[in-house]
């Protein structure tokens, strides 16, 4: 019985030794995996801060783009409206409408002149109506017979005053739908 007991104890000790050896080997593998995991955790990652930064940059970019679109639109609108207004003055119809005062102020138009006849004035208004981006289309606010304006030039001089307005920066073209 003592021999069996001793043999059992020896087998137990051997078992413990074998188990420890195996655990040691497995431990080395686990250590290696742990090191790899830690290295993976330490790698630089796209943080939420970076994402927020890129989102902010995009938002600012879109705002700048919309600002530039408005800016260009405002420039182009005034240029086109101005061309329509002034072409009859210096072109072939120079004798039809004469400018006295033309004022653009923050998108608002005020035009004072003398037309050779009511028809000439009507034609001019029609021409101006071709421009589609008026906020308030040019309308006559004052009209009077002006025989003294250009003596000897017109038979039925019509003095007039027109007012209208273009879209100004704050309420310009609809913004683009893009954005974060």
């Amino acid at each position: 019985m003592a021999a069996a007991l001793a043999l059992g104890l020896l087998a137990g000790v051997l078992g413990v030794y074998t188990e420890e050896q195996m655990a040691s080997n497995v431990g080395l593998t686990n250590q290696s995996q742990k090191a790899q995991g830690l290295a993976a955790l330490q790698q630089p990652v796209t943080s939420t801060l970076e994402v927020a930064d890129s989102k902010r940059e995009l938002k600012e970019g879109v705002e700048r783009l919309n600002f530039l679109i408005r800016h260009e639109s405002e420039h182009d609108d005034l240029s086109e409206a101005q061309d329509l207004l002034r072409k009859p003055q210096i072109g072939g119809n120079a004798s039809i409408v004469k400018l006295q005062t033309l004022r653009w102020q923050s998108g608002r138009l005020e035009f004072e002149g003398v037309a050779s006849s009511p028809e000439a004035l009507h034609m001019m208004q029609q021409k101006m109506g071709e421009f589609s981006r008026w906020q308030t289309g040019p309308s006559l606010v004052q009209i009077h017979t002006d025989p003294l304006a250009l003596p000897g030039t017109f038979r039925q001089n019509v003095g007039f005053k027109l007012q209208g307005s273009l879209q100004i920066a704050d309420e310009a073209v609809p913004l683009q739908g893009r954005g974060p």
Binding site: A11, G37, L65, H75
Partner: protein, 333 residues
């Protein structure tokens, strides 16, 4: 049918077990009573084996228990803990990678969008003059007005607060000339400065048949383009033009004209530089118009030009004397 077969097998097994127990248990019990149960070699071997296995298991169990309690250091216990750590770490890495992939995708999406936005902005700004053009803008406008035969009443540049990262400035001018010339000048300026928005522009017929053109254009400048090839070349040319040798700086202007005949008819100034040398005044004497700036001597009296402001041109002022004012030429309403 299957159910009946299962029942039959169970009954058969029970009968067999009962028969074996009836046959062997009394014998075993009898041997136990006679103390001869474990006397056989087989039984002794069996008993020894059981004892051996139990003692081995006891050693293993005892070792695990004391290593679990931390009384001894055990590789096995450490390995178990390490394995738990590794599993937790792998889960964490997995979560981190998933989050990272999502963030990277989102960021890449933002950057792609930003590139498109930038491309659209570049398209809008491609026609803008280089920001270094600001340094020669007033000179250019003055030359343009001369080409159109217009009289410059005022030409003034001022810096404005930045807008959306763009530098801003304004140019105010007041000119006089034929109606067609003023409109042609306005068109030229409008084409030259697509980066501008007119806040105010007006034409007014004057009694003498000429037209007065007044306006203000607010301009945006992309300061970053100053370092491009175009910008550097423009800056170099401007610096060369600023060279006093190249300009042939005339120290005495209109030396044969008395001061009494002279009137100030225009001025050009920039708010970018506050030095008096950066502003010019236009002086009419008879049919001649000359540009003068601070430091030059003027007229028959050879009075030194001091400065220009909204009231007119200030002359003299050296050696403790009060400066005298040459007023603006009045425009008849």
């Amino acid at each position: 049918m299957i159910f009946l077969n299962v029942l039959n097998v169970r009954n058969l097994w029970l009968k067999k077990s009962v028969r074996l127990s009836i046959r062997w248990l009394p014998k075993l019990f009898l041997k136990w009573q006679n103390r001869t149960l474990f006397h056989s070699g087989m039984s002794r071997l069996l008993r020894g084996s059981v004892l051996c296995i139990l003692s081995a298991l006891m050693v293993l169990g005892l070792w695990r228990e004391i290593s679990f309690l931390g009384w001894v250091s055990s590789d096995h216990q450490a390995s178990i803990l390490l394995e738990q750590d590794v599993k937790a770490l792998i889960a964490k890495v997995h979560v981190r990678q998933t989050e990272n992939n999502a963030s990277t995708t989102e960021r890449r999406h933002h950057l792609n969008e930003l590139i498109e936005v930038q491309a659209e902005m570049d398209d809008l700004m491609v026609a803008w003059p280089n920001s270094n053009f600001r340094t020669v803008l007033l000179n250019h406008l003055q030359q343009l007005s001369q080409q159109h035969g217009l009289a410059v009443m005022q030409l003034k540049s001022a810096k404005l607060p930045d807008h959306h990262g763009y530098e801003a400035s304004s140019v105010q001018f007041s000119l006089k000339g034929a109606e067609g010339a003023t409109f042609s000048f306005w068109q030229s300026v409008n084409r030259l400065l697509p980066n501008g928005v007119w806040t105010h522009v007006s034409w007014r017929a004057l009694p003498d048949g000429l037209f007065a053109l007044e306006g203000q254009i607010n301009l945006l400048w992309d300061a970053q383009d100053a370092d491009t090839d175009t910008g550097v070349e423009m800056k170099w040319r401007h610096q060369a033009a600023q060279n006093p040798q190249a300009l042939k700086f005339q120290s005495h202007v209109l030396p044969d004209h008395p001061q009494a005949q002279m009137r100030m008819v225009g001025s050009v100034g920039s708010s970018h530089t506050s030095t008096p040398a950066a502003s010019w005044a236009f002086i009419r004497s008879g049919n001649q118009i000359h540009a003068v700036q601070a430091g030059q001597y003027l007229g028959l009296e050879k009075v030194k030009v001091h400065s220009t402001d909204s009231k007119g041109l200030w002359l003299g002022g050296d050696e403790g004397q009060a400066p005298s004012l040459m007023a603006w030429e009045l425009i008849k309403p």
